[in-house]
């Protein structure tokens, strides 16, 4: 049974965008007469490298929610779990380019890559320099050694944050791309899900998870994970996830990290904090210090029950950029 506050399922994405534009007209606008081409209200910002992203809907705040001061300049919005079109990505690119080129940052999904690559070629034809960073940090999605095959999930937040801060400082396109790569290379994520989601136009769950079951490593579209089994205690679940995350980079004694506890949609913040308690205990035990903790919804999957843990290993540069202020309709952070 689909229990959602929607009107016509096929109008879901566009009505959501109308709502977002109506709520935040001071921060966002759309271009090319297309609701799905979202840019900062003050775009283009001359003299700043512009950052664009995009991807399917159903993951708020991803992707458009990070368009704003200190983070991104524009976003091409696809249907639920669907890539935006190359033309939409191109329109966003044209609207945000401030003369210093555009960096694409999006998650490692086939459809998105194809469409953004097409957009990049078209943009080059219009003399806009485009570089691309494809984010992928879900350790459950491919083994160590095959990092290039990994899905991009909540950890992309750190890539946006650090690259966005770097661009705001006036760095050139190569520098901003270097920072995106640096952040991306130092972040790892792992998720767990307890319940499926219903895509409005489909009307029924796309997969099932039994009563009392969990799936460790599930992707944000329900991609299969590492292990399905009986729902364990919060501490056991966190331990299992951390056992996968920690050795992958690896994160080691003396490291300084930022942790992102991300709710997938229906999991209460209370539970995210119960889980963080265990993360903190594990990190303390390993001699790893935590600089900044984010707890909330940063990359969701509609009403999925579950959460993910992302960790960014910091060096001085990343730390400095992470602490910079940012202001988008979905994320505000005072400069620290």
């Amino acid at each position: 049974m689909m229990k959602k506050f929607i009107n016509k399922p096929e109008a879901f994405v566009d009505e959501m965008l109308e709502g977002i534009l109506a709520a935040h007209p001071d921060q966002l606008r759309n271009v090319a007469d297309d609701l799905r081409c979202i840019v900062r209200a003050d775009a283009p910002r001359t003299g700043k490298v512009a950052l664009a992203t995009g991807g399917g809907s159903g993951h708020l705040p991803l992707f458009l929610g990070y368009v704003g001061q200190g983070m991104l300049d524009g976003c091409a919005v696809g249907g639920v779990f669907q890539s935006p079109s190359s033309e939409q990505a191109l329109e966003v690119t044209k609207a945000i380019d401030g003369g210093k080129g555009v960096l694409y940052i999006y998650g490692n999904y086939g459809g998105d890559i194809i469409n953004f690559d097409m957009a990049a070629e078209m943009a080059e034809m219009e003399d806009i320099r485009v570089e691309t960073y494809v984010a992928g940090e879900d350790v459950a999605s491919a083994p160590k050694g095959e990092e290039g095959k990994r899905r991009g999930v909540a950890g992309i937040f750190y890539v946006y944050k650090c690259a966005g801060a770097k661009a705001e400082e006036g760095a050139d396109l190569d520098e901003v791309k270097r920072v995106a790569e640096l952040a991306g290379a130092n972040v790892r994520t792992m998720g767990v899900a307890l319940s499926p989601v219903i895509v409005p136009e489909v009307g029924k769950p796309s997969f099932t998870i039994g009563d009392g079951e969990m799936e460790i490593g599930m992707g944000i579209h329900g991609e299969p994970g590492i292990r399905r089994g009986k729902l364990l205690t919060a501490d056991e679940v966190v331990q299992e996830m951390m056992d996968q995350i920690m050795p992958d980079l690896p994160y080691e004694k003396g490291d300084e990290v930022s942790v992102l506890m991300n709710g997938l949609g229906a999991t209460p913040k209370e539970e995210l904090y119960v889980a963080y308690r265990k993360v903190a205990e594990i990190l303390k035990g390993k001699g790893i210090s935590v600089v900044k903790v984010y707890v909330g919804e940063f990359a969701t999957s509609l009403e999925m029950t579950g959460f993910s843990i992302s960790m960014l290993k910091l060096n001085d540069e990343l730390k400095g950029l992470l602490m910079k202020g940012a202001r988008t309709p979905f994320f505000e952070q005072a400069a620290l």
């Binding site: 696809g78 779990f81 669907q82 890539s83 935006p84 079109s85 190359s86 033309e87 939409q88 086939g110 459809g111 890559i113 194809i114 469409n115 690559d117 097409m118 999605s141 095959k149 796309s206 992707g219 579209h221 991609e223 299969p224």
Partner: protein, 207 residues
């Protein structure tokens, strides 16, 4: 053998083919993907047919290229964008030729297949539409080389497509949503390969 009228007839036929095969593609894509392929293919080809039917255009290459652009806008899924790329690259490769011969058709599909391989960063053997289109392009080059008539060209293409689709079944998916299932995809039809075969069948059914 292929003029602007033929090209429009091809687009119309492909629209019908994809509408008829919508449920079949949904089913095949559901087995190792997200099940949307039937919808995106029928939408892509319906849009192309509708927008090109009355197009004021007499160059078949340009018509196909524009059809590709219409598809890219209407159906930006993996296959929607790849097939759109194929039509754009193929069309541009034969631009300026009002009546195509067998060699032009071969050039079109070679560029079509290569365009998809480049865009998808793939090659034959990875269980994709390319495993249909690459042998089709080769068969067309061979048929054109031996001076086959339109019916012979069509037969060579459709047979190569069917063989390619069949061969793809035993491969392991390396791209997109299906790649997640890896070994489990062996023995199953590749949705993109089936869609590619339908494109070839529809395209050559007009000859």
């Amino acid at each position: 053998m292929l003029t602007i009228e033929t090209a429009k007839r091809i687009l119309h036929t492909l629209n019908e083919t994809m509408a008829q095969n919508q449920d079949r593609l949904i089913e095949i894509d559901s087995a190792i993907g997200d099940g949307d392929l039937g919808l995106t293919m029928s939408k892509a080809f319906r849009t192309a047919d509708e927008q090109m039917a009355d197009a004021d255009e007499d160059d078949p290459g340009m018509l196909f290229a524009k059809a590709g652009m219409a598809m890219a806008k209407a159906a930006p899924s993996t296959m929607g964008s790849l097939v759109a790329t194929g039509f754009m690259k193929g069309g541009k490769a034969v631009k300026g030729t009002p009546d195509w011969d067998a060699a032009d058709v071969a050039t079109f599909f070679r560029a079509f297949a290569d365009g998809i391989m480049e865009r998808g960063k793939t090659r034959p053997g990875n269980k994709t539409i390319v495993d249909v289109l690459d042998p089709v392009a080769t068969a067309l080059e061979e048929a054109a080389g031996r001076g086959a008539d339109p019916a012979g060209v069509a037969q060579a293409a459709t047979e190569a497509a069917a063989r390619g689709e069949e061969a793809a079944r035993n491969m392991t998916s390396q791209h997109g949503k299906a790649a997640i299932y890896r070994e489990q995809t062996v023995g199953k039809q590749d949705p993109g390969a089936v869609a590619g075969m339908l494109i070839i069948q529809g395209f050559f059914s007009v000859f």
